[in-house]
């Protein structure tokens, strides 16, 4: 009916190559943007922002980052937590060393620092493949967390070993610290999400993204047709770590405010982001959003249901949460190994033919 490419004539290559070739999709995209930037900031409440929206936005960035590496380039990484820690500590050092610096620049620089660390830990990927690489990235995870725990320079010699974000501004509005307005925090994250997702989408359909996908599908064949594996793998590690670093910096500065490295950026975080990518769908930007939304919403809903509606004590609710998350992951992998993104695209396929499927 309304979801058709028929009748929508493209008259230039640019139009033909656009991200959303179907008119309805394009308007849906503008609609989501309008709500995200035009409506939510005016009505957002503290609870909604802190429990759902801000973690969702931040984890969406991390999930896009991991999806670039794992979904597009096929290099499995379990070091996401460690790289998020690099972003967080880089932003902390920058915030305390240059108090006048705009937060947007701090976050971007933290991303760049993380990208460099990511490239260093990505170097072994040229020799090591598959599971061996997945386990090797754990080296990054454990080493980085240990380093941020043990080297006092990183936490400015504070007695507790914790880092806490001082109040800093972006374009004149406070976005970190306890007195920052919630709408400013939300918008700050939302702008990053929008720009980074847009960038990722265009990276992955350009020549760089095609190289990544060629490496993922079969690295030897890719090398034979002229893809440089060194360049492709390292750019994937750099781009992925940049995103993950930005997510880590935002998580620490805007969302948590104070962090202890082992707790905030431990191996659990690596798995959480990995679950988002798997459940959302490998190799899909939309999937990263869907997975992040799912994994952020699920515990909130479960907890509200079990402690709120059923009135169980919180320890049992936590244990049940583990059981349910575990079951859901196995269920998803059995029923739809390509994640929510595949379900979404199947639905769209169906919608194109609806209401005359033959």
């Amino acid at each position: 009916m309304f979801y058709r490419e028929a009748g929508d004539f493209k008259t230039s290559y640019a139009e033909d190559n656009q991200t959303f070739p179907i008119v309805f999709d394009r308007y849906r995209y503008y609609f989501v943007l309008a709500i995200g930037f035009g409506i939510i900031p005016f009505f957002i409440t503290d609870y909604m922002a802190n429990a759902i929206m801000i973690p969702f936005l931040i984890y969406a960035i991390a999930a896009i980052g991991l999806n670039i590496l794992t979904g597009y380039c096929g290099q499995v990484s379990l070091g996401t937590g460690g790289f998020m820690a690099v972003g967080a500590y880089a932003s902390y050092k920058l915030m305390t060393s240059f108090p006048g610096m705009d937060m947007a620049i701090v976050i971007l620089l933290s991303g760049i620092v993380t990208a460099m660390v990511g490239v260093a830990f990505g170097l072994p990927s040229l020799r090591i493949k598959g599971f061996y690489l997945a386990v090797a990235t754990l080296a990054a995870q454990f080493f980085l967390v240990w380093m941020f725990n043990k080297v006092p320079w990183f936490y400015n010699y504070s007695a507790s070993g914790q880092i806490s974000a001082p109040e800093r501004t972006s374009f004149g509005f406070a976005v970190t610290g306890p007195s920052a307005d919630i709408w400013a925090k939300y918008l700050f994250c939302a702008v990053f999400v929008f720009v980074l997702a847009w960038m990722a989408r265009n990276l992955t359909r350009g020549s760089v993204g095609r190289q990544w996908m060629a490496i993922r599908d079969m690295d030897i064949a890719a090398e034979i047709i002229g893809v440089n594996p060194l360049k492709a793998k390292l750019t994937a590690f750099a781009a992925s770590s940049f995103y993950v670093g930005v997510a880590g910096a935002l998580l620490f500065t805007v969302y948590l405010g104070a962090a202890e490295v082992g707790e905030a950026f431990g191996i659990q975080k690596s798995f959480l982001v990995l679950f988002m990518v798997i459940i959302g769908g490998l190799g899909s930007i939309f999937g990263s959003f869907a997975g992040a939304a799912f994994m952020v919403l699920l515990p909130v809903l479960l907890r509200n249901f079990m402690t709120g509606t059923l009135g169980w004590e919180s320890a049992i609710a936590t244990h049940f949460e583990f059981v349910i998350v575990g079951l859901l992951i196995m269920f998803f992998l059995i029923v739809e190994p390509h994640g929510l993104a595949r379900l979404w695209s199947l639905a769209k396929e169906k919608l194109r033919l609806w209401p005359f499927p033959h």
Partner: protein
């Protein structure tokens, strides 16, 4: 004799003992990976679950008592009997075998032919699930596990080394027992794989699924068998680690210790798991002893990984792993 050298010797011996424990966990990984290509992240949680179940059965706890109390307002906790250690171990083995069957029946049978990474994810899901179930079943408090293994310092070694070096080595009886049991277990597994019909079927499946299927080996049966064996290895590992430091959540993290062992030894080799375990055990003990104090200690968290990483750059399939041959 130089004092530092004597200390280093003691550290080395203790490192070897720890290495045996690592190897024990790594062994469970190798068994499943060889036969089904599944990289079983849940092995550590399986050890936790097995140890929890063992303690629960021994002390006569009622499974899921917390949950039942919460739902029905009752106050259940113990059956009021004590089960002897050997019988409890036997019953726990049965539980692990039942668990193996359920995992195979409800999860991995539906995932045959999927990519390895998907299978790996599924085992992470399994680990979460099992962790939650274990807490719901037996509670999440720290439990002490005592199945009658000797504990405490070994006085004979202490006196003997004191006679030689003027310094008595501190070697835990439990570590010695663990080493002996691990050796018996490995010998038993190798004998099982070499000389029994089931073992031969297992090796055939490990070699080539389709060829094994075409000569009439039941894949499902072999996979349940392998998961059961891994469950029993997990039980043994759980008993060792549980007697050493109590049965608690951190037990499931030994899986993370076993991963670098596997990388070093190669994912497909039983001798590799043992040699890798010993290298990692000694390496990390010596590194913590010699370099650790200079850079802030607690290096054992990452040393094994970095060692394995550096090693892999030069030999990507590990020490004893099958050579990786790639074709287009």
């Amino acid at each position: 004799m130089n004092e530092q050298l004597v200390f280093a010797m003691e550290v080395t011996i203790n490192g070897l003992m720890t290495g045996v424990m690592y190897a024990l966990v790594a062994l469970g990984f190798v068994l499943i990976f060889k036969a089904s290509g599944i990289f079983n992240y849940a092995q550590g949680v399986m050890a936790l679950f097995a140890a929890m179940t063992l303690v629960g059965i021994q002390e006569g706890r009622i499974p899921f008592s917390h949950l039942i109390n919460e739902l029905f307002g009752t106050d259940l906790h113990h059956f009021g009997w004590h089960v002897p250690a050997l019988l409890a171990i036997f019953l726990t083995s049965l539980v692990m075998i039942a668990f193996a069957y359920l995992v195979q029946r409800f999860v991995f049978r539906h995932l045959v032919g999927q990519e390895p990474i998907i299978l790996f994810m599924a085992t992470i899901g399994l680990a979460y699930f099992l962790e939650g179930v274990s807490d719901l079943m037996w509670g999440s408090e720290v439990r002490t596990l005592d199945v009658g293994l000797p504990q405490g310092i070994n006085l004979a070694i202490d006196e003997y080394t004191f006679g030689i070096f003027d310094y008595g080595f501190f070697i835990d009886n439990l570590d010695i027992a663990a080493t002996i049991i691990a050796a018996i277990l490995v010998a038993g597994l190798i004998a099982f794989a070499q000389y029994t019909k089931q073992g031969r079927a297992m090796r055939a499946v490990a070699d080539d699924h389709q060829a094994a299927l075409s000569v009439g080996i039941k894949l499902n049966y072999v996979w349940v068998l392998v998961w059961s064996l891994a469950g029993i290895v997990a039980l043994v590992a759980g008993i060792m680690w549980g007697s050493k430091s109590g049965v608690q959540f951190s037990l499931s993290l030994i899986a993370l210790k076993a991963l670098p062992v596997l990388m070093l030894g190669g994912f497909t080799s039983i001798p590799g798991a043992i040699v890798g375990g010993l290298i990692i055990g000694v390496g990390e003990a010596l590194f913590e002893f010699s370099i650790g104090p200079m850079i802030g200690g607690a290096t054992e968290n990452w040393f094994a990984y970095v060692l394995a990483l550096i090693f892999l750059v030069f030999r990507p399939q590990g020490l004893f792993g099958e050579k990786i041959i790639e074709r287009v």
